[in-house]
Symmetry: C2
Subunit: 586 residues, 2 copies
């Protein structure tokens, strides 16, 4: 019997006809600790996002554009139908459930793993009362060697790094609660809590947070956390700030005792079980967590630090590219290159962790948007072609995210045209000027248009927010033309990462981070623009200058001059001479 | 006593503390017949949009960016505060009412003049039950010489013009009602009804529609209209199509008798009194009128006709520009030029009416976005400067809308830079390529970016839909970056009209109409693009070629070549020779 057939046996025992396995934890985190990797355990698909639905006779796995190829490679197509989201005729999970579900069928899932808004949306699909079992984690007992819940020490982020004290951040959250007429606020998202308290942990890979819940009212702040994670210094700090510490496991009991409050919750963030636990005599005000926008707008200290982190990070990547491009007879593979890059980063003071697993993808692997080299897929990086490297680090001075596509040996004209088109798209966004209040998705037209004019596209957003020693993918700022979005504000940091992917051949992605800053103000309003804060050169071996306009060439030359000034002092003499050479004006 | 003071007396008599006077009729029309011009009567402001609020002590007039200067010129600032919508610190009418209203104050207005959604929004602002009087038209009796309700004959639009029969259009509406589980649909918007029935009238200036209401159910279609407007041919046509004709005044009584139906209504379109008249035992389904999207996507016959109308219209405008540019010692004024243009249009077979009052604005008047020359404002068009002409016609073959800015005498460098920047913005949209599904507002970034890079902007959308012998401003397609909007689809026609306005100096606006057509389809999806279907040259006297890129120049040259081929046969020999000259390649 296969694992999925075994799983059906326990579904049957529990009278469940459809069981949904998301990629999530109790805190709606993007990356999850091993304890929560049930979808991967059951489906074999290792991607960072995807939803599995097991029915009595078959199974479905929904994956997004980043994972179309990877999912096909990893799952057993005899057992699981891979559904490619957004492609013509692909059904959503709601549409599929609507087409299959019969009136008395039971849908089961662990309510702690789903946002309220997902469950509300599910209920809305049916004009009859659904038979739901939301309190059941079928993997409990079924997954024999299931890892434990994560455990890591919590540490404090000094004012020289975070730039704003907890009490000042709390005051802003309380002001927002007051604006919404709320006397209580529940936060379960981990990055929001880490930001608020100026605390960090290591419970989730590549995300320096710790499992916790927070309840704020007009008098007190209650932090629900595994108290063993708190060392004496942090204990002292929490006490000094009058933060009441309760144990992690007491949270659901605590909130079920709340009465007659106006509670601010973010239904997109909190899980369904939290919502379910709150008594009816409370008044729920469903608004975005105030911490989301507050932490997205970086303060002066954070911005200064981030630029320092970017310079450190850039020096590692430039050293890396130097070794890759100048190596004679080196026998690199995708995996050894990942290790090489990590070893170069680890040397920096203040380095904490990678901000995500490095994507190091040669030629055809570059076409797999979120490729991760494994022992099975690893190939030598030799001969000719394009090496796509998407990588980032966490430093005490902030988090980085950058992608470079590097020419190895001889580059075909097709590759150069693709590279240069992506570079034009990149420059179109980097040089954008816009009135305050412009929705961020509208800006996505500038890079897209460069691709669309060549009848090309990329199946991912053009950019996402980046946290400060938090998640490398941070809300609410993003560039994604399809979805209405909030305006970009000064202090926000967002990536700029257009791409082109030619299946079975190569991929090109060029990513820098953009800091939004003020331009001039006049009778039309306040104009804003971007400052590029990643400092790694583009590869002139891959650029076709005849496709570039004069302003585009000027931008590249200015960019190379700036980064040379910033980074060259961190390099050895041979590296510096080489950098000077590859940064020569176009 | 002033008129407004008199008005306060009858407000007092009727125990009304706040009275709202919108710019609207019973059908939420954009342009309104003289009977409904109460706001203009009371405030003296002649703009096509604006809302007046009279309180016991003062009055407020909300105007949009098009009318900031005009409103200041026309209203008595001692009596009325002009509120410039969208400027910093400007209050909305809701915010103002919230700040002034006391609990027992009565807000009065004629509920037939307000959309449901406006009244619902108003109610939402207050956490107490509002004291509303929505059944009172205070102008009834107060406005002594009030014009009568409009009266015009209804005529039929032949299949060679409309391209689709009523019964086929009805079938599509019924299918949509079925999709929404509705067995009844009420339509009150006049253009939707005129489109559905393939009938036209002349009840509203510049909009060939007739006052009517429609109720569709699964069995019958009921048309509520002043039966005296129906001639024997139309009567026969209605009978043949089994359309039940009822008198206009019976509508409210009829709908108050409806019971136990699922009624599809568009709360943004129907007035509050309609909503109020429907009994509670009916089920309201609030969705956009299906006719809105159906009529926006022009059929093959309509498109062929529209291109013919555009060629006719262009020949008039080219003759007009020829006369303006080559006239020696002609003593033109803004008003005589309006008449000249109208007389040139009137000569065409199939000409019905102007599609809106021509804007003919010289120099500083060009900075007033919707300037209308009057005897008081009229100035000679002599000497040097820019003449902005925004104009359009209704033909049996469709409706046109075009703007050209014409150099008279010597043009300053500032004017040339402005003209060329607007032209670059115009070309950026005209040459856009986009994936099917791209929201229309996102496309607005392409023209805006050209202006924003020069720290300029225009306070209006970049484009609006154009009806077929209906409203020159047609929903739902528009280019306006701030507001989430539906995707542009093949068959939609939308204007492309960026501008630059330098207060007290000049204005530049360059407007063509864009037909959305299919480009290629590939693995990324279906690409769409635009075909420009207005055929009037740009003024090379105003272009600064050094600011244009090679592709921009190529586009202008291609455009001029195309229009010369289309229009030259309708011109006299001297006009044709002149056109050839001014269309010479850049």
């Amino acid at each position: 019997m296969s694992l999925i057939e075994d799983f059906r046996t326990i579904m049957l025992e529990n009278k469940i006809d459809f069981y949904i396995v998301p990629t999530s934890d109790y805190h709606n985190s993007e990356y999850i600790s091993p304890y929560f990797k049930c979808r991967q355990y059951l489906s074999n698909f290792t991607g960072s996002a995807g939803t599995l639905l097991i029915t009595k006779t078959t199974a479905y796995l929904w994956v997004d554009g980043r994972y179309f190829l990877q999912a096909d490679n990893q799952v057993d197509s005899k057992e699981i139908n891979v559904i490619k989201m957004g492609t013509p005729n692909s059904m959503t999970i709601f549409e599929l459930l609507k087409s299959k579900l019969e009136k008395n069928d039971c849908i089961g899932f662990d309510g702690k793993l789903f946002s309220c808004s997902f469950v509300n949306e599910l209920k809305k699909q049916f004009d009859f009362e659904l038979n739901l079992n939301t309190k059941i984690d079928l993997f409990d007992g079924f997954w024999i060697d299931r890892p434990k819940l994560p455990f890591s020490s919590i540490y404090q982020l000094d004012m020289i790094y975070c730039g704003e004290e907890y009490k000042d951040k709390l005051a802003k959250v309380l002001a927002k609660m007051n604006e919404y007429n709320c006397d209580m606020h529940i936060i379960s998202s981990l990055t929001d809590q880490a930001w608020l308290y100026n605390l960090r942990g290591n419970d989730i890979e590549r995300t320096p947070v710790f499992l916790a819940y927070t309840v704020i009212d007009n008098k007190d702040t209650r932090l629900f956390v595994d108290t063993k994670k708190i060392n004496p210094d942090v204990k002292e700090y929490l006490k000094a700030n009058k933060i009441i510490v309760k144990t992690y496991n007491d949270f659901y009991k605590y909130i079920s005792g709340i009465s007659n409050k106006h509670i601010l919750i973010d239904s997109k963030k909190i899980n369904y079980e939290i919502y379910n636990s709150i008594k009816f005599n409370n008044n729920i005000v469903d608004k975005e967590n105030p911490t989301i926008l507050l932490k997205a707008i970086k303060n002066k200290t954070e911005i200064e630090n981030i630029i320092e982190a970017q310079v450190k990070d850039a020096s590692s990547i430039i050293k890396f590219i130097y070794q890759v491009k100048t190596a004679k007879d080196a026998e690199y593979t995708e995996l050894t290159l990942c290790k090489l890059l990590e070893s170069l980063r680890e040397k920096h003071e203040g380095f904490v962790d990678l901000s995500f697993d490095t994507i190091c993808a040669f030629n055809e692997h570059g076409a797999i948007v979120h490729y991760e080299a494994t022992e099975q897929t690893n190939i030598p990086v030799t001969g000719n072609g394009l090496l796509l490297v998407d990588t980032g680090g966490h430093y005490l001075e902030g988090t980085t995210d950058i992608t470079r596509t590097i020419g190895i040996g001889k580059i075909t004209d097709e590759m150069k045209v693709a590279y240069t088109t992506v570079l034009k798209a990149h420059i179109a966004l980097a040089t954008a000027v816009f009135l305050k209040g412009t929705p961020a998705n509208v800006l996505d037209m500038l890079p897209r248009q460069q691709l669309w004019k060549s009848k090309l596209d990329y199946r991912h957003g053009t950019g996402h927010g980046v946290g400060y020693l938090l998640s490398v993918h941070e809300e609410p700022n993003r560039f994604s033309y399809k979805y209405p979005s909030i305006p970009i504000e000064p202090g926000m940091i967002t990536t700029n990462e257009p791409g082109v992917y030619v299946e079975n051949k190569f991929g090109v992605r060029l990513e820098n981070e953009l800091l939004c800053i003020n331009d001039i103000s006049n009778e039309y309003g306040d104009f804003l623009k971007f400052q590029t804060i990643s400092y790694v050169p583009f590869d002139q071996d891959c650029i076709k200058p005849s496709l570039l306009t004069k302003p585009e060439k000027d931008w590249i030359n200015d960019y190379h001059e700036t980064l040379y000034k910033k980074v060259s002092r961190s390099l050895t003499k041979p590296e510096r001479d080489w950098l000077k050479l590859i940064c020569k004006p176009l």
